[in-house]
Symmetry: D2
Subunit: 302 residues, 4 copies
């Protein structure tokens, strides 16, 4: 299996819905077309920002196909395929690869937290990786799953030849360091949040899958490029100025805020699926205010 | 809408699978037939112990139909229908009612924890209750969801005429008291764990949906009956002696232990779906040892 | 060593300070004099509500002496003596007994949470109990300590002949049941919060040490008496109506609210020590409003 | 007030006790003498590793005096002075400055977690900073306090002219970035754990107060120097190789392990105060094994 490099910046694309919460594949294509004018390494479809857990399997495949269709050659299409059961994760992984995903990002099962010990989780990832026609990235997202996979778990998973990396969204840079120090050479760690992109790169991450890359792709890419060029001061200034807006569209107000910000910038944000609700006017105004802060390099039509 | 009384004891039935993890509707029927010789008020199909999050919609309906088929007249069939999106929860709720569920138990959406404020959750439950042809029970299960709905949320939900009760699995008896003191008269609280059945009854709960009722139905019913008869001393002794075994088949080892215990007692436990794994021999032996402890009134063939 | 019965209700008395945060032993005497007209089993001096962690050792002894002086014969004087080190806990325990405490309530050390395993904690309590001239009650208070002692820890501690009971403030009634089912006969559990008094009694607790007993002593005593008399319905109604006010003076607004409520009722509340700050006017008004709610039996001058 | 630069590496010195847990000021001097041959910026006396919460005020002052006495000119003496009450914190802060501390590190009060909102905490730090004759560093240590001060709290504290920096021990690099982006220019952030030193430096921290600097001072200093020299690759390799040992002497086994490691290396570790217990033989052997791992630059006698 040829190695894919996941270096650089990936936006986890929101999934587009109309006012009745129905899927709009065309708007997925529209957003990818717009964002692809930036030097992004690829995109993630059906991550946490993609409301994956709200979609039917049929919708998931339609979203992947739309993304594949719109993504320029040479860019990587990552698809989120983690489900609560191993069997459904395998089935969705295979279907996603068939629909064009270059690699899959697999969130761990988490409903039965009390049973999700290392034995169960490593077995799960090994079973999925055995069955997957494409490389597998492990996805740790404690804010949503309510559990946090440990470094020893990830290091054990990395022994499988088809498990090639980790998206760490908990911001635990110590864990990243422990994994990078002990996992097989070439195991790739990706920052899962723009708020800790630079520290992650310093620790050895190869890039990031960042909600903010949907609305500030140039900003994220510049942090990455400045770091690679050895300009820590520039990278740090850009890092500091991104934190507040990134928090707004992730931990603070979540997907509804990310979609509202995209709408504001000329991308397609659109509706969220309930139980998520659109931002109220007051928060929307605050969000727009934050987008006007100095030092931000936001997405621009051109 | 006629009021259903949920007084008494309900087992949350595990879902039966063969060695390849395929659904066995016959074994659901078998278990219900066996358990129905006890004075249970009904059963819950597709709760947390029923591996609901692991099943396809088609399998869920097949499980409900099997349960309906096997459950004697006069017993209540509860079905777990909570999904991450409002639209899927509504669709499954309607299909479950059509398949024979007398009421639905709706776990809250929890993936987007950061957004699950009172506004979103009350709206979700109201939308589901509006659409549901049968009464709705709210289901709070923090150990699995990683979040804990508060008393004010539940009290607000209780204002909907079709939201008739709460299954509280977090063991928070203060919350039960606050809800019972402020929600509409007749709102029914059910203990969600056998370890706190008696204290819940003291606080005003009408009964319980209890994993232990699958393996010690008589024991659970006797606690309930002793309490109703005013024999607190008897109820307390029974309560104390159930705690260790109940912890073993819930928080400690979970569904694999519940199924192993059922197998041991002549019921059908069978396989779990991965990522869950069967108990190893050492733990199975410990579990069997615990089932031999004094004071337990276990399920018995006759 | 003669057994002390801790049955019934104990208020954990706030410690009185003047406007400069200096100790007022006279006001401790005043409050005890007033409260002792109720049928309380005793009082706790220097609990969490007593701002124990804010006092010098000299102040602690002065507070105990004032309490001993004011408490009528036949009432039990409990003193909180838990410190972070074993040596300081022993020293304070001995001094407290010398100053008149009938028993000590020992909060677990918690600063080095990561090291506070069963070995360390049992050793600590055994060392303290060996050195204590009076009986020792274990005190678990997770909201303040940030850790939660488990049932197996408590059961192991109960093997010491001078460790005679547990104040459980976490509201975990399952833990109470597990402890009562497995600890030595006669081990006494006390509810540490008025919000879960009745469920605790149902589970086998002998009484409670309750912040609300400072402002609603009659209410707490009536719950206890109704339960003992077998009148669960009456006990439950009283329990429900106490929950909101109790939450206000504990988890929600804490010691500043408890002191404000005492001031409002004609007892001496007075200042808190910084970093605690007095209630602002808005919250004070809400608190007074809650004290007017139906069903509450508040402290009354007469 | 002249600005002190806290750039570079500080060990948080353990406090030396004999077999009866009595303070050994001579051994404090011994350790400082040994460690001062490294290019450390200073030392912290009475931090979490110094068992501060276990010491009497008299012992605290004796420890500071010993440290002052032994520390070479030009090195900074930091003293930990946070207590639960504002008044005791002020008193200890003044006494510490009088005993020779150049600056104080003030852990937040945390016992009354539920009341420790921004208003209380900012007022506390302002009161302490007003009274302190030396500069104040804020100390956030969630693993021990059970609470986590937020970026907005720290930013508000930084408005006081005598509050000059933050030791962040929670490893939250996003918070560091938010603070550095919004606090007054010159506000200094120090990493509170060696596991995240490099990422913290990348984010803008000026140095670290690191348990590992007691046993691997040269290793910590080399990470710092490599980073300053722009050699991220070298810094990263050193960072990765330090993580496991650092975890062992902090989160995993804590102060007993740190002291055992010091004993092993020819420094004085000695006893801990109960409830802490010395390492058992098995863990001690594991610890010694870890100290033999490749890539570690441990403390060495001259």
């Amino acid at each position: 299996m040829a190695t894919i490099s996941f270096s650089g910046i990936f936006p986890p694309l929101p999934t587009a819905f109309d006012n009745n919460e129905n899927l709009l594949p065309d708007k997925i294509r529209f957003n990818i077309g717009k964002l692809s004018r930036y030097d992004l390494s690829g995109i993630l479809i059906l991550g946490s920002n993609g409301e994956q857990v709200m979609l039917s399997e049929k919708e998931k495949i339609a979203a992947i196909e739309a993304a594949r269709d719109a993504l320029p050659a040479g860019r990587i299409l990552l698809a989120g395929t983690g489900c609560q059961s191993t069997r459904e994760t395998i089935s969705l992984t295979r279907a996603s690869a068939a629909a064009g995903a270059d690699a899959v990002l697999v969130l761990n099962p988490f409903y039965y937290k009390g049973n999700m010990n290392q034995g169960e989780l490593v077995r799960h990832y090994f079973d999925v990786a055995d069955a997957s026609p494409v490389p597998v990235l492990v996805y740790n997202m404690p804010a949503n799953t309510g559990m946090d996979m440990t470094a020893p778990m990830i290091i054990a998973m990395a022994e499988h030849p088809n498990i090639v990396g980790l998206k760490e969204s908990g911001g635990n840079v110590v864990k990243m360091g422990e994994v990078l120090g002990k996992a097989k050479p070439g195991f790739q760690v990706l920052a899962g949040g723009a708020g800790f992109l630079l520290p992650s790169l310093a620790m050895g991450a190869v890039g990031g899958i960042l909600a903010s890359a949907n609305i500030a792709p140039g900003h994220c890419i510049e942090i990455y490029n400045a770091f690679i060029a050895g300009d820590i001061t520039r990278a740090r200034d850009l890092q500091h100025s991104l934190i507040a807006l990134n928090a707004a569209v992730t931990a603070r107000w979540g997907v509804p805020a990310l979609k509202a910000a995209m709408d504001h910038l000329g991308l397609f944000g659109g509706h969220v699926r309930r139980p998520l609700l659109p931002l109220n006017d007051e928060i929307r105004k605050q969000l727009v205010g934050m987008m006007g802060e100095k030092g931000l390099i936001l997405y621009k039509e051109n």
